[in-house]
Symmetry: C2
Subunit: 273 residues, 2 copies
């Protein structure tokens, strides 16, 4: 066992959405320590350009390195789409995103080879899900749809709501007409809309939440590199939360979706990294 095993895993997102990924890591790798960063001063990433998202991701990775992380999870589809390929070449520790694991499990799930992807404008425009999926199986048809209102609807708390149902119905109409049998929730906020989405697509469509598969891939990666942690620690020291703005608001949200009390979140100046 390496002496790095006890070091934390860095997890980052443009804001609170990545907490759905952190939650899966906590569930599946309960011994691992986590340093989470949410870029709440510059959220959202989904409407921004590749250059900007890459620059922001590099700053965050520099910050996480100061926290001595042993591995990094990009818990944001947009940053995974726009930054992972570049930053993994620059780093001396393992880094994974949420897109590749999500694409992989979708390929395994589809029977009729028609996969729908819903995500931010940036993730859809990047074509990244399509590219990973067709690399695994060129026969699969991928139909993407940007859903820019989903993040604000989640943040408004309208998770099971007639407005959200109507908006989701419009966004998903074309995908359903094309007879998809698998739908990737390609933005970390979207799993919070799961029951509304389920109502629209019915029982026959498999909903893929890349967070599950990402936690599994992280587990495997840490094992391969001999970095799995075995020393347990109390929760308060185990999970550290950092943001670039609005620490209180973040903490309330984190507290509502994580299965323990989140009592501290620190604000840092991310532009200085």
């Amino acid at each position: 066992m390496s002496d790095r095993c006890n070091a934390p895993v860095g997890v980052f997102d443009s804001g609170v959405g990545g907490l759905t990924v952190a939650r899966e890591i906590m569930r599946n790798l309960p011994e691992e320590n986590i340093v989470y960063f949410g870029d709440t001063a510059r959220v959202p990433y989904g409407t921004k350009s590749k250059d900007t998202v890459l620059r922001y991701s590099r700053q965050i990775i520099r910050f996480l390195k100061t926290q001595d992380v042993k591995a990094i999870v990009i818990a944001c589809n947009t940053a995974s789409a726009y930054a992972l390929e570049d930053v993994e070449k620059e780093l001396d520790i393992p880094i994974i995103g949420v897109v590749k694991p999500g694409a992989k499990v979708a390929c395994e799930a589809t029977h009729n080879k028609k996969i729908g992807v819903i995500a931010t404008e940036a993730t859809i425009n990047s074509g990244i899900y399509s590219s990973y999926i067709t690399r695994q199986d060129p026969q699969i048809q991928v139909i993407g749809k940007a859903c820019p209102l989903f993040v604000p609807l989640v943040e408004e708390g309208w998770l099971k709501d007639s407005v959200t149902f109507e908006v989701a119905g419009r966004y998903l109409r074309k995908l359903m007409e094309q007879d998809i049998d698998t739908l990737i929730l390609g933005c970390t906020h979207y799993p919070l809309l799961r029951s509304t989405l389920r109502e629209i697509v019915g029982e026959k469509v498999t909903l893929v939440n890349p967070a599950y598969e990402t936690a599994r891939e992280l587990k495997q990666l840490l094992a391969e590199k001999g970095l799995t942690n075995i020393q347990s620690q109390e929760e308060a020291r185990k999970y550290q939360f950092y943001v670039s703005d609005q620490a209180d608001k973040f903490m309330r949200f984190a507290d509502s979706i994580l299965p323990f009390d989140v009592n501290t979140t620190k604000k840092i100046s991310i532009e200085e990294y």
Copy 2:
């Protein structure tokens, strides 16, 4: 006439919304040159903290000063609410926001002394409209309501739409129950929803768009300071557009709402200012 008269007016916003203010300035002060900056890399401001919005505003003002502007208009309600009071003390050129002019015209418009304000979460939380209004007339009751879904609905282009109508109905219900006779559109995106809002509030409620009054106040301010421009220039040189991200997307939006062709928008690194 001062030799500074020919210098441009700086106008800034978190993104494209401030173009509704720039448009009013163009209409009412057709001789003035304008340098517009939209902070598209960090949009939106309406969910961010005072510290962050103030820091961003200072960077933008430093950039506008490099463009040799003679005066500045903060064409963003959130930045007007959070930054104007601090930055006007630090500046050697005149600066105005959109909130004070909007509050003033609302005070003149109300008969029953009940004014509604719809705006971003940040603007509502700042209590700034209420503070300006009650300073002018302590008898006036101000009822604020944050409408976080309006900006994404505008940016989705759903201006006259059943979903937007339903969302607006919910947001405005309480204001209408309290019998307001005047409604301030306290976010620069909202005038683009005017006809939907009109349908909900009916003909008896006065809709106040602070952009009109801001342009009027700018005109008066420039006249007082001897800074009014009298030399006309062709439009291409007259109006300069800068953004921190996605210049092409900004240009398409600008082109759709301004009454002339917008052919160039330059991207700059605002973090360096």
